[in-house]
Amino acid sequence: MSEAVVPDAMVSPAVGGLYGEKAGGPMLDFSYVGIDAILEQMRRKAMKQGFELNIMVVGQSGLGKSTLMNTLFKSKVSRKSVLATAQEKIPKTVEIKSISHDIEEKGVRMKLTVIDTPGFGDQINNENCWQPIMKFINDQYEAYLQEEININRKKRIPDSRVHCCIYFIPPTGHCLRPLDVEFMRRLSKVVNIVPVIAKADTLTLEERDFFKKKIREELRANGIDVYPQKEFDEDAEDRMINEKIREMIPFAVVGSDQEYQVNGRRLLGRKTKWGTIEVENIAHCEFAYLRDLLIRTHMQNIKDITSSIHYEMYRVRRLNENNTMVAHANGIPEHHLTAHEM
C-alpha cells in the first residue's frame, strides 16, 4: 500500500503487470514493495562470488571413479587426467589427493575440488582403511572451525569441507560387502554419502533391480542413512521429492568420456561388439539422475546440510570437549555435557 520509489534498474517487468493498472509511467506501482527483487541481488552476488563444491570419491581401484568425475563435469577433472603417471601402482595405505579446478558456465563460476582416495579397499587386509578418510574430513571441519572462532575473521572463509562423498559399490549383483557396510556406517554420520553402483553395464535390468533392493534392505537393516536423509526433510514437498529419489538409490551409473556417433548424434558412451551404451540415456543407466541430483537440483541442499548439520555437530562436540578439558583443569565438576557419539 505504501508508495515506494523504486529505482529504474530494479523493476522486474513480470511483476509490474500484476498489481493493477496505474496511470502514468510503468515505474510507479503503489502496492509493489520490491522485496522479491532480492532474488536478483542474490543472483548477481552469487555470480560474482562463485560457488565452491568439494566432492570426495571413495571406492576400490578400477571401479571407474575418475571416469565418472570426468563425465559429470564434462571435462578432465580427475586426478588421473591431471597427473599423467606412467605406472599406476596401488599405494600401500590410503592416500588422500585433492585436485581443484575452476570451471565456468553461463557466467557462473565454480571452484570444484575432487578428493580422491587411492588405495581404499585394495589391500589384502583392509582393517581401518576408513580412518585416514575420517581424519581428513574432520580436519577440514577443524580448519573451518579455527577460522570461525578467530578474532579477526576473513570476510569469506574458504570452505574446504567435504560436501558430498560418492561411494562406489562394486557390481557383484548379490549384496553389500562387509567393507562397504562398515565404511558407510561410520561415514554417514559425518558427511553426506551418495552410494552408486559402479560399472553398471555389467548388470541386466532384472539383476540391477534385485541388487538395488538388496542394498536398500541392507542399508536399512544397518541403520545407515544416506543422502537424502529422512530426518532432514523440511516439509511435505521436500519429502515427496526426496522419497522419489530414495526409491532409486543407489544409482546404477556408467561413466565414459569418449564420444561416439549414434543415430547421427554424437553421444558419450561405451562401444562394445554387441551394442553401444549411451551414458545419458535413462533407459541404459541412471547417470542422468545422479547428475541432476548432484548438480542441477540438490547441490545447494547438499552444501546446506553439510554446513548446518554435519559441521554443527562437529562444532558442538569439539567445543564440549574444550569445556570438559577446561573444567578438568580447573577442578570444576562438569554438570551435563551432551556427548555426541562418533
Partner: protein, 428 residues
C-alpha cells in the same frame, strides 16, 4: 642281485610285411577307459559376485547351482569355506564324474590375510589321501580326488591385478594348475580388454607366477590353435545359461537394453575358447600335469620330510637315497633295537613297581605295629584306672565295715546298759 644287461639293445625301425593288428591297441585302451569312466576335479576361486556359479552352469550345461541354491547374499561367512559338489555327467556313452570345489567367502572379509590357507589345506589333504591310497597294500580302487585345475577369477577393474590376486596365485602355482580368468568380461570394451590382458600378463611375469601352460603339439595346425590360445590368455569370459532369441536364432547370452552379449560368440568373449580348452582338448593334459608335476612335488616334499625325522615305519616305501633292500635291512635292525629298548624299559618299569609295592607293604607293617603298641598302652592305662577304682572301692568298703562294727558295738553297749537299768529298776 638282479643282473641287468650291460649293453642296450638298439631298436631298429622295421616295416611290417602284413597286417599284425596292434594298430587296434588305441581302441582297446579307449574301450577300457570308457568302461572305467573319467574323473575330473575343478576348483573355482574368486570373490563373491564374479559369476563363478553361472560360469560352471554354462560350461557343463547343467544347473549345478540351481535357483534354489542359496546365493552369496545368504551365505556371507566369517571364514573361507571349501565346499565340494559331485555330479555325474553322461555323454555319448562316456561317463564323467565331475567334482566342483567352491570357495565361498574368499576375499570377502575386511581382513583377507590367509584366506588362501583353507584352499591350500584342501589341496594338500586330497594329495595326501591319494598318497596314502597309493602306498596301501591293497590298491584295488584308487579314487582320484586331487584337484586337477583351479580357475581363478579376476575382477574386471581394467587396471591390473590386486595384491590379493598376486598373493594367492604365488602360493598356489606350484600346487595346482592355475588358470586365471577375467570374470564378467562384458564390462570391458575390446580395447580395454586388450590392455587389461596385457597388463595382467606383464604382472604375472613380473611376479614369476607359473600359470598353466599349454603344451606344444607336434602337428602344425594344432600348434596354430595353441598359439592363438596363448595369445588370448588370460581368457575373458561371460557366463549365462539363459537362452535368448536374437535375429531368429536361439543363443545363450545376457540381455541388455543396448544389445545382447552372446556367450558363445567368439567376438564377444572367450568362453568358447575356455570350454574347448578345458573339456574338449586339454582335460587329459591337465590331469597328467597334476599327476606328474604337482603331485610328485608334493610327494617328494612329504617323504623327504619324513626321512629326515628317521623313524617312521608306516609310509616309507621308496627312499630317495637308499635302495629298497638296504632300507628293509635297516628297518629290521631298527625294529629289533626298538624291541630291545622296549623290553629293557618294561623291565625297569617292573622293577620300579615291585620296589614300590614292597615299600608300601613295609609302611603298612610299621603302621600296624604302631597301632598295636598304642592299643596296648591304652589297655594298660585302662587297667590301671580300674585298679585304682577298685582300691578306692575297697577302702570305702573297709571304712563302711568299720563304721558298721562301731555301730554294732554301740548298739550292744546301749542294750547292755538298758538291761543294767532294768535290773536296777526291778530291784527297787
Amino acid at each position: 642281485m638282479i643282473e641287468r644287461p650291460e649293453t642296450a639293445v638298439p631298436s631298429i625301425a622295421r616295416n611290417l610285411e602284413g597286417y599284425v593288428g596292434f594298430a587296434n591297441l588305441p581302441n582297446q585302451v579307449y574301450r577300457k577307459s570308457v568302461k572305467r569312466g573319467f574323473e575330473f576335479t575343478l576348483m573355482v576361486v574368486g570373490e563373491s559376485g564374479l559369476g563363478k556359479s553361472t560360469l560352471i552352469n554354462s560350461l557343463f550345461l547343467t544347473d549345478l547351482y540351481s535357483k534354489d541354491y542359496p546365493g552369496p547374499s545368504h551365505r556371507i561367512k566369517k571364514t573361507v569355506q571349501v565346499e565340494q559338489s559331485k555330479v555325474l555327467i553322461k555323454e555319448g556313452g562316456v561317463q564323467l564324474t565331475l567334482t566342483i570345489v567352491d570357495t565361498p567367502g574368499f576375499g570377502d572379509a575386511v581382513d583377507n590375510s590367509n584366506c588362501w590357507q583353507p584352499v591350500i589345506n584342501y589341496i594338500d589333504s586330497k594329495c595326501e589321501d591319494f598318497l596314502n591310497a597309493e602306498s596301501r597294500v591293497n590298491r584295488r580302487s584308487m579314487p582320484d580326488n586331487r584337484v586337477h585345475c583351479c580357475l581363478y577369477f579376476i575382477a574386471p577393474s581394467g587396471h591390473g591385478l590386486k595384491p590379493l590376486d598376486i598373493e594367492f596365485m604365488k602360493r598356489l602355482h606350484d600346487k595346482v594348475n592355475v588358470i586365471p580368468l577375467i570374470a564378467k568380461a562384458d564390462t570391458l570394451t575390446p580395447e580395454e580388454c586388450h590392455l587389461f590382458k596385457k597388463q595382467i600378463m606383464k604382472e604375472i611375469q613380473e611376479h614369476k607366477i607359473k600359470i598353466y601352460e599349454f603344451p606344444d603339439v607336434d602337428e602344425d595346425e594344432d600348434n596354430k590353435l595353441v598359439r592363438k590360445i596363448k595369445e588370448k590368455m588370460p581368457l575373458a569370459v561371460v557366463g549365462s545359461n539363459v537362452v535368448i532369441e536374437v535375429n531368429g536364432k536361439k543363443v545363450r547370452g545376457r540381455q541388455y537394453p543396448w544389445g545382447v552379449a552372446e556367450v558363445e560368440n567368439g567376438e564377444h568373449c572367450d568362453f568358447t575358447v575356455l570350454r574347448n580348452m578345458l573339456i574338449r582338448t586339454h582335460m587329459q593334459d591337465l590331469k597328467d600335469v597334476t599327476n606328474n608335476v604337482h603331485y610328485e612335488n608334493y610327494r617328494s616334499k612329504k617323504l623327504a620330510a619324513v626321512t629326515c625325522n628317521g623313524v617312521d615305519t608306516s609310509k616309507t616305501k621308496g627312499q630317495l637315497t637308499k635302495s629298497p633292500l638296504a632300507q628293509m635291512e635297516e628297518e629290521r635292525r631298527e625294529h629289533v633295537m626298538k624291541m630291545k629298548k622296549m623290553e629293557a624299559e618294561m623291565e625297569q618299569v617292573f622293577e620300579m613297581k615291585v620296589k614300590e609295592k614292597k615299600q608300601k607293604l613295609k609302611d603298612s607293617e610299621a603302621e600296624l605295629e604302631r597301632r598295636h603298641e598304642q592299643m596296648k598302652r591304652n589297655l594298660e592305662a585302662q587297667y590301671k584306672e580300674l585298679e585304682e577304682k577298685r582300691r578306692v572301692f575297697e577302702e570305702e568298703k573297709a571304712n563302711w565295715e568299720a563304721q558298721q562294727r562301731i555301730l554294732e558295738q554301740q548298739k550292744l553297749d546301749a542294750s547292755k546298759t538298758m538291761e543294767k537299768n532294768k535290773k536296777k529298776g526291778k530291784i527297787f
